[in-house]
Symmetry: C2
Subunit: 364 residues, 2 copies
């Protein structure tokens, strides 16, 4: 029963009767060595149960073949799928994957980034909590650490990023409802970051085409922008009272906001849920009500969760290609790690329209 202390290259070299440099060359697969020498060393290594110590190697090469990811919550299907996409490409390249949660909390994000940096990851994928308060990310980039931003951008930080084309996709989603004849469309959205003038101010500016730097907006605010555009395009008025702000990434918060909307005397005839978590909350609210989809209420969601397909009726939604997003993120990061010097890229992915049965004409 071997002890924890394993054989080192020195042990192997001794047994094989060569120098540590030679043993290192064959075991590490670099430099060149005679066939015969190689066999000797390999035999010795096998005999001793040698396993490379990546720490020592990394200390010299300056590369750990490990990347770090800071996600909001790995348990959320959105992140879980993206992580799987990342893991798939990373595993192909024999890289390790260090994962941490931020819970959308900047301090936790900072701590996570620091921990990953101390562990000398070769690059970082971060889904930033805050699009403005992100000095740590700017410093990171300035210090030359490969970085790819996921789902969100950061003001004044020009690095590779990947996200959903939120404005356009949300606009199409709301269009689906407008085309079906809906005039009062409620929204349930996170909208965590404060905007000048609050929701009402944002709506006013959005309708006036006065919202600038839209790509450093939080996804849910971008989706509201799509909602506004669809209305303007159709010449429909927007009732600010129908834009439900949850203020956090909470399904239960979404349930409450949705219930408040549905309890109104002038309740909306359709709802737009701006992501998976919001959709879950909205569904809980509807399930607890007497309303039936789509007869009493139409629904369009954002992001495709497994249950949306087997509910009856199915839920019409715009799927984000999460696995592909993850894979693309990892590929971009590996590119940078390998030293690509091309200008930073912003990859925006369209949501895929999944027509199911949750939309009908109002009062149909």
């Amino acid at each position: 029963m071997a002890l924890r202390s394993r054989a080192t290259i020195a042990d192997v070299a001794r047994l094989a009767g060569v120098s540590t440099a030679t043993a290192g060359r064959v075991l590490g697969g670099y430099g060149s060595s005679r066939e015969e020498t190689r066999e000797q060393v390999e035999r010795a290594a096998r005999k001793l149960g040698y396993r490379a110590n990546a720490l020592a190697r990394s200390l010299i090469t300056g590369q750990t073949r490990t990347i770090g990811v800071v996600a909001g919550d790995i348990q959320n299907p959105f992140y879980a799928s993206i992580l799987r996409g990342i893991a798939d490409v990373v595993e192909t390249e024999d890289f390790g994957l260090l994962i941490m949660n931020s819970d959308e909390n900047v301090e936790k994000e900072v701590r996570a980034v620091n921990l990953l940096l101390e562990k000398q990851v070769d690059g970082l994928i971060v889904s930033p909590c805050d699009t403005r308060n992100a000095r740590h990310l700017r410093d990171l980039h300035a210090s030359g650490v490969p970085l790819v931003l996921l789902d969100r951008a950061v003001a004044g930080l020009d690095v590779d990023r990947i996200a959903t084309e939120n404005i356009g996709t949300a606009e199409r989603a709301v269009e689906v409802l407008i085309r079906a004849g809906h005039r009062r469309i409620g929204v349930v959205a996170e909208l965590v970051e404060e905007q000048e003038g609050g929701v009402a101010g944002f709506i006013r500016r959005g309708l006036a085409g006065d919202v600038l730097s839209t790509d450093t907006l939080y996804p849910s605010w971008q989706r509201i922008l799509g909602y506004l555009r669809a209305h303007r395009q159709a010449g429909l008025p927007v009732d600010p009272a129908l834009v439900g702000r949850v203020g956090s990434y909470s399904a239960d918060g979404a349930r409450k906001i949705a219930s408040a909307l549905l309890d109104r005397r002038d309740r909306p005839t359709a709802l737009f849920a701006t992501d998976g978590t919001m959709s879950e909350g909205v569904m809980r609210s509807i399930a607890a009500s007497d309303l039936r989809i789509p007869d009493d209420l139409s629904l369009v969601c954002f992001d495709d969760l497994e249950w949306m397909g087997f509910l009856s009726p199915g839920i019409t939604t715009f799927a984000q290609p999460r696995l592909a997003m993850g894979a693309a993120t990892a590929t971009m990061l590996l590119d940078r790690i390998r030293g690509t010097e091309i200008p930073s890229r912003a990859v925006l992915m369209e949501g895929e329209f999944l027509l199911r049965g949750s939309v009908s004409a109002p009062g149909a």
Copy 2:
């Protein structure tokens, strides 16, 4: 704009006018140092933007403060929640978390374990693909690496493990259906590992009380055992034709098996789905049929997925405490890493009964 190459302890020591040993002591928080010295060093470190290199530290201390996890599929809600539970305790202790997928494939599992070991993780959590073919895990344990098994056990490997009390929980689940009056209860289960005599042979032996070493059985086989016990207890015959074997961790496979069961002339009046993936497939099958829950078909599931709560009717199920399972797994592993010498523990968690609306009397 600082370059990638960061300040080292030597740089800080030089600027502070002390030795590297002293600088190391204050920056690393070990040994003792004068208040004044400490301030000097810290000032220098701040000025240079010093950040510790955990690699160098780990090489000396022999600890990386990183643990590795090999899960079946991090995208699966079962693993995603468990990982979150693990991450929560691990982050508290300032440990890193290296995560890999096995896709229930032994070769991938072996590769993952090797990669993690080369990266010198302090310990490993593995959800083993194969309860018998697991030499790599036995060797691992023999070499003294802290190891905790998740969800599944390995024959002849006496290490800490955590799992659901599958037999008892499944027995209770099937009891719920029997008490409601069901006599023909179908099962949809993975049952990936071959058993002597196949499903029919296993049923025969199970009813005869002839299945030994039940705790190294795959979870789905254990759950079948619970199904059999409930029948025996109630004096009900078991029809092997009603035990649907999917043979893989596939929701679509489960959908097909469920549909085959429901298409039978003598179709079951109730279904038991042995885990989340199976439940999803079963739901897809039911959604595509004309059957209504619970009037035409009763259903009990295993594991609680978000949608089970807001479907109407809700799905009666036995929830696995996934977050707590993850947390307990991590806690056990950290215990071992800290050197606890107590005998190995097997923590079996009961499923929590969630009574919702998917069960009624047959033909009601």
